[in-house]
């Protein structure tokens, strides 16, 4: 294989997995499953991209990421409920007001959790840069504390996540049932992906971050205060986790304090499959996991998580560092 052909190999694998279940599932069900798989993939991407970026740039294995995700979901829940009480936008018929309140809740969640991320990074993670062992312990401690704080503030029980009126229900396109919210999730995920990619590719900030992924010392030598960028990337990663949390909560329509722990496992697998530190890798990994999970959950419900693990094992055996290279 020439390098040029090799470049397309991951895409071909994705396409093969994308189309193979057609032989077992009827086309209509297949489209429905594909859409919900893509939506799940895009939501996973939001969580995994932050995790992956933080690992690539700070080389910190941030196990508190799941807790930040939970915080995002809960802040999204609270701000949605509060704004809805004041304005009633969530229950109105206007789709623009619905989208407005949804975006406002997500932005609030992103901002507040970004702030929380800054605090976490400054207080907890900064003193242990350079020692992988202590980083893992510290982030586990931060995970426990943040998750327990959720239980203390909001209580340990499940809550029902409110959904804007026009996000519920589905469209009927040529007899194929297409739920509305997954489509919105896919579009949101794609927009965020393009925005992140543009920032990384086209701006000076993105260049510095990409250089930092390759070699932090060199960036420091060039006169940039790398620690400020560390904090910034951590905050952005946390905000992405929070937005993912809010959207995930709307997707499954319920929130509970342990939800972060369940999703972080998927995020870990996605980040490893895609290649740690790679945004494109996160998208491809997330879509692979999301699609295969949905197909298998339809065919053999009990093997759904097994297929994800199998994917991890297979990809790690052939490409030990993940599908994509760092910093792409």
């Amino acid at each position: 294989m020439t390098p040029n052909q090799r470049k397309w190999l991951p895409t071909l694998i994705v396409l093969a997995i994308f189309l193979s279940p057609l032989s077992l599932i009827s086309p209509k069900t297949y489209i429905t499953l594909t859409i919900s798989g893509l939506a799940m993939g895009m939501l996973l991407f939001l969580v995994a991209s932050g995790f992956s970026l933080i690992f690539g740039f700070l080389s910190v294995l941030n196990l508190a990421h799941g807790a930040l995700f939970t915080w995002g979901a809960y802040i999204g829940f609270t701000s949605f409920t509060l704004i809805n009480q004041w304005t009633g936008w969530g229950g109105s018929d206007s789709i623009f007001l619905n989208i407005g309140i949804f975006l406002l809740a997500l932005i609030l969640a992103g901002l507040l959790v970004g702030l929380l991320g800054i605090i976490t990074e400054r207080l907890v993670i900064r003193p242990v840069y350079g020692s992988h062992l202590f980083q893992i312990f510290i982030t586990v401690g931060a995970m426990i504390v943040l998750e327990e704080l959720v239980r203390i503030v909001w209580g340990p029980n499940d809550e029902v996540m409110p959904v804007p009126i026009s996000f519920m229900g589905s469209w009927d396109i040529f007899d194929v049932v297409v739920s509305k919210y997954p489509l919105i999730a896919i579009v949101m995920g794609l927009i965020l992906y393009v925005v992140i990619l543009m920032i990384l590719r086209k701006t000076r900030l993105g260049t510095i971050v990409r250089a930092g992924v390759e070699n932090p010392e060199m960036v420091q030598v060039m006169g940039h205060n790398i620690y400020r960028y560390f904090t910034g990337v951590f905050a952005v990663g946390s905000a992405l986790a929070a937005i993912g949390g809010g959207m995930w909560a709307t997707f499954v329509k319920s929130i509970h304090p342990a939800m972060g722990g369940e999703v972080i496992i998927f995020a870990l697998i996605v980040a490893i499959i895609g290649g740690l530190g790679s945004i494109t890798g996160s998208v491809v990994g997330a879509l692979l996991v999301g699609l295969s999970y949905n197909y298998v959950a339809y065919l053999v419900p009990k093997a759904a998580l097994g297929i994800t693990m199998l994917l991890l094992v297979i990809i790690l055996s052939f490409r030990p560092t993940g599908l994509f290279h760092e910093g792409t």
Partner: protein
């Protein structure tokens, strides 16, 4: 072996160090501390007649073994596994499935359950180690965590084998059964509970000696050299990756046996009680509190956590009587894990060596002065 015709100068430094260590063995105060500790565990059933105390002490014993086995990976080899409880769970479920689900209640099958647990854990940990340690040690943490979560979900979904979320309760054979009585001795009735207590104590002491032997063997010293300076160990010609796999599979087998003991004591297995993330967090906390790279730290860490947890309900009652009717306050006292999390961070910052490590450092500094 000390040869009489050799002078001390003829030994190489390592041999000489070991020789001195061996000579000082029976004179050091820590030797008597160990004997005292063992004596305490042996006489606990005769000193305390309440079942609660016995339960806490036995859980301390089992978790000491589990934490020490985790310490072999973490403190002696320097790789982080976040799925060590998976093997503990395999041990639990192996005993549970044989005794409860299949109903083969006999000594032979109990031994077979232990054997199968050891073999399965060994093979699984070698496989996981082979494909995740090959790349980067940090992958190991993530992959083990993912596998533990996978096993957790598997154990709660495969209802026909594992009993799902309800778990399996089971009876034990012969002298281990609850209704068995051996007669009276030193003022207590030797029931099946007491017999299983001593059986588990014996197994855990053997496991502990085995682990001490392992970390002080030549293999163990290579592991410590990998922990301290991996590039140098590679340069010396050791295939570090294979040694890491050996350490992780040895520790997994020990954890499986500890899991089997746990199942014998509680006579019940469920996903939450044997292989969930909270138990992994407990083990991490115990290792950190006790001290990494000491093995004995596990005993102190386990004792600290188990005893604190046993007294926590009383603390909650106290809190509720001081601040009645404030939901946030009662939640604050309920969430003991929150304080453990804070404690965790504080210990990692200020006492990264844990209880045993800090005490050892204090004494060695005093000796040098």
């Amino acid at each position: 072996m000390k040869e009489p015709d050799l002078k001390k100068n003829d030994f190489n430094p390592v041999q000489q160090f070991r020789l001195e260590e061996r000579e000082a063995r029976f004179r050091s105060p820590s030797f008597f501390l160990r004997i005292l500790l063992l004596a305490f565990f042996v006489f606990t059933p005769f000193m305390f007649h309440s079942f609660e105390v016995l339960d806490v002490v036995l859980k301390i014993i089992i978790f000491s073994a589990l934490v020490a086995s985790y310490d072999v990976i973490l403190g002696y080899t320097g790789i982080v596994s976040l799925g060590h409880v998976l093997y503990f769970g395999i041990g639990c479920y192996s005993v549970g499935i044989f005794m409860g689900n299949l109903g083969w209640v006999s000594y032979g099958h109990l031994a077979l359950a232990f054997l199968i647990a050891i073999v399965v854990s060994g093979i699984l940990s070698v496989l996981i180690g082979l494909f995740s340690l090959r790349i980067r040690a940090i992958f190991f943490a993530m992959v083990t965590l993912a596998f533990m979560e996978f096993a957790f979900i598997l154990s709660s979904q495969l209802r026909s084998i594992t009993g799902g979320d309800d778990g399996i309760s089971f009876k034990l054979p012969g002298i281990l059964a609850v209704d068995y009585s051996f007669g009276h001795f030193l003022g207590i009735e030797l029931t099946g509970r007491i017999v299983s207590y001593f059986l588990i104590l014996l197994i855990c002491v053997i496991l502990f000696l085995l682990m001490l032997r392992f970390v002080h063997s030549p293999v163990g010293r290579v592991l410590q050299s990998i922990r301290d300076n991996e590039p140098r160990s590679i340069a010396l010609g050791y295939r570090t990756y294979l040694f890491q796999v050996i350490a992780s599979s040895f520790a997994s087998c020990v954890a499986a046996v500890a899991g089997g003991c746990f199942a014998i004591w509680v006579r019940y297995v469920s996903p939450d009680s044997s292989l969930s993330v909270p138990i992994m967090l407990d083990v991490l906390l115990m290792v950190i509190v006790g001290g990494m790279g000491t093995l004995y730290g596990g005993i102190f860490g386990a004792a600290f956590l188990m005893i604190t947890r046993a007294f926590l309900p009383k603390l909650q009652v106290l809190m509720a009587s001081i601040l009645p009717g404030v939901p946030m306050a009662s939640r604050l006292s309920e969430r003991w894990l929150f304080y453990f999390g804070l404690l965790f961070i504080i210990i990692v910052y200020f006492f990264p060596k844990g209880i045993v490590g800090t005490v050892q450092e204090f004494f060695s500094r005093r000796r040098n002065n």
